[in-house]
């Protein structure tokens, strides 16, 4: 299997910003792979997608998308990719189906063929009954589907989606997941950014976890979950400074205090909770909240970055 995307030492610094948005990123995505980029806002996901889709110029390094260099052959890259933006940006001067027909024309698809494809895509994405409507008459979920339809009109080999389910209700989100799974089954390469753990876990073959422009982990969701430290993440909130609490309790692999919150990774699950409460009381602190998370991408992310994803 050949590679759909090859990223080599990619670096991006915006203007005179003191920190790089992306720091020497190296990645390869295989053809037909459903690849996810996971990270909080500012992690460098959107910058990476921006560079791969030719809209952001890399400060250093290069990337090949479907065999073409994003810096030297941007038009060739554009021709081979479909892009679904973070916020739907349909052409409001045109009707729903015209959005697709004109987009296809921008890629050299003849009118009759463009009309046929557009009709077919609208049906496949369940918005055919809106084909002559103005785009403003579509709901948020329908606009997002229109964006996916638009990205597919020129039959691209690689599909990029930047946080495609942000702002969608759970029903629309699951409907979108089904669409993406079907596109993946057809053999299309999909590269998606998200900050929803569940979404990444459910859909992606492989995941890159990014933070502050750096690649922190790269593996299948199953392997990543196995790498999550400890068995269980226990978060205990106190009514005062949690750093005073001495968490040197048997079974704790790692502990960290942030304000009133104490985070510990426990090898003995919730069994350590009474000891934690007692340790707090010893410092005159009362517990206000307790939260237990089983090993997941979320607990891995917290252990890697020290903060929550959402």
């Amino acid at each position: 299997m050949s590679d759909a995307v090859i990223i080599r030492s990619l670096r991006k610094v915006y203007g005179t910003a003191p920190v790089a948005a992306l720091e020497a990123l190296d990645l390869t995505v295989a053809e037909g792979e459903f690849f996810g980029m996971l990270g909080p806002n500012g992690a460098g996901k959107t910058t990476t997608i921006g560079i791969l889709t030719t809209r952001v110029r890399a400060t250093a390094g290069d990337a090949l998308v479907a065999g073409a260099s994003v810096s030297r052959e941007p038009s060739s890259v554009c021709h081979r990719i479909g892009v679904v933006p973070q916020r739907p940006n349909p052409d409001r001067g045109l009707s729903v189906i015209e959005n697709l027909i004109f987009h296809a024309a921008y890629f050299g698809v003849a009118r009759a063929e463009a009309t046929r494809r557009s009709q077919q895509l609208l049906e496949r994405l369940g918005i055919a009954e809106k084909k002559d409507a103005k785009v403003d008459q579509l709901s948020g979920g329908q606009q997002q589907r229109l964006m996916i339809a638009r990205a597919l009109t020129h039959d691209p080999g690689v599909l990029f989606l930047d946080e495609p389910t942000v702002g969608l209700d759970p029903q629309a989100r699951h409907a979108l997941w089904d669409i993406l799974r079907e596109l993946h089954r057809q053999g299309r390469t999909i590269i998606m950014t998200t900050h929803y753990m569940e979404e990444a876990d459910q859909l992606c073959d492989r995941l890159a976890i990014l933070d502050h422009g750096k690649l922190l982990a790269l593996d299948t969701p199953v392997n990543l979950k196995a790498k999550a430290p400890g068995d269980t993440l226990v978060e205990v909130s106190f009514d005062g400074d949690a750093s005073k609490v001495k968490a040197d309790i048997d079974g704790i692999s790692k502990s960290e205090a942030r304000g009133n919150l104490l985070r510990v990774f426990s090898r003995r699950g919730g069994e350590i909770i009474p000891a934690l409460i007692a340790a707090g009381e010893a410092q005159g602190l009362t517990v206000t909240d307790i939260h237990i998370s089983r090993p997941s991408l979320e607990t891995l992310f917290i252990s890697l970055t020290g903060r929550k994803l959402t």
Partner: protein
């Protein structure tokens, strides 16, 4: 995967999109860009001459200026306003920036679309003004090639200026752009009086030379009412070509900065 596609084909598809949208919005477009010149024609070309406050032959001075103003203003607005919206909040132009065509050609397409819309406005205003003002002594269409050349250069110059300002200014500064840039440009653009007439105020005659609209008005005068004193064709063309070149360069540069970060 589809085979590669020529930039010319992508360019015409993008232009067809703008023409399609502009055709649908034609009535609103004409009202937005030609109402002001037409109101001016009613007051200064119809009412005041009949009151005896303005000599009747004033219409000869005015008609080329009105056509120039409509052409320049519509070409400018047709590009500047969508650019402010597209890059400022709707991001609608993204689908064209992702088309397989070099980014500068997307910007050039905008200039061409603006030029076409400017021409439509000028062609609409001319007969309307003639209808309101009555017969205009000295108005001639005897030099069509000159008229066409002046129109193309002027339309391109103002369309490119629209590209530059539309991509360079923030959405919240549009109001400021109209009052600080456009209003003085219109008043001192020799639209309502010939440049030669300013020789009574010599300082002003030189100051207005920085106003690009002056050369459009004078160019229209040389083509439509050659009997009225006007600048030499050499100066007019040299200025229009220079203005075109400068604003196309500035416009492309500014567009690129907004399109690729």
């Amino acid at each position: 995967m589809t085979a590669t596609v020529s930039p010319a084909r992508v360019f015409s598809a993008i232009l067809l999109r703008d023409v399609t949208v502009a055709r649908r919005e034609l009535p609103y477009f004409l009202i937005r860009t030609t109402l002001q010149p037409i109101l001016f024609v009613i007051v200064f070309g119809f009412l005041m001459p009949r009151m005896g406050l303005i000599p009747r032959n004033f219409t000869t001075m005015m008609i080329p200026g009105i056509v120039a103003l409509s052409l320049a203003l519509s070409a400018f607005q047709s590009v500047a306003l969508p650019m402010v919206a597209d890059f400022g909040f709707t991001k609608e132009i993204e689908d064209r920036l992702l088309a397989p065509i070099p980014t500068p050609l997307v910007a050039i397409e905008k200039i061409v679309a603006g030029l076409l819309q400017g021409m439509v406005a000028a062609i609409f205003v001319l007969p309307v003004a003639r209808l309101i003002m009555g017969p205009i002594p000295g108005l001639t269409f005897g030099n069509l090639p000159l008229l066409l050349l002046v129109t193309l250069l002027s339309g391109a110059a103002f369309s490119a200026m629209g590209l530059f300002l539309g991509t360079a200014i923030a959405p919240q500064q549009i109001g400021l752009m109209f009052s600080v840039i456009l209003a003085p440009m219109i008043m001192f653009g020799c639209t309502y009086y010939p440049w030669a007439g300013l020789r009574r105020v010599p300082a002003m005659q030189y100051v207005v030379l920085v106003d690009p609209l002056v050369y459009v008005s004078e160019g229209m005068r040389s083509a439509l009412t050659p009997s009225v004193p006007h600048m030499s064709l050499l100066v007019i063309f040299a200025a229009l070509v220079a203005i075109c070149a400068v604003f196309i360069w500035l416009g492309l540069r500014s567009f690129r900065r907004r399109a690729i970060t």
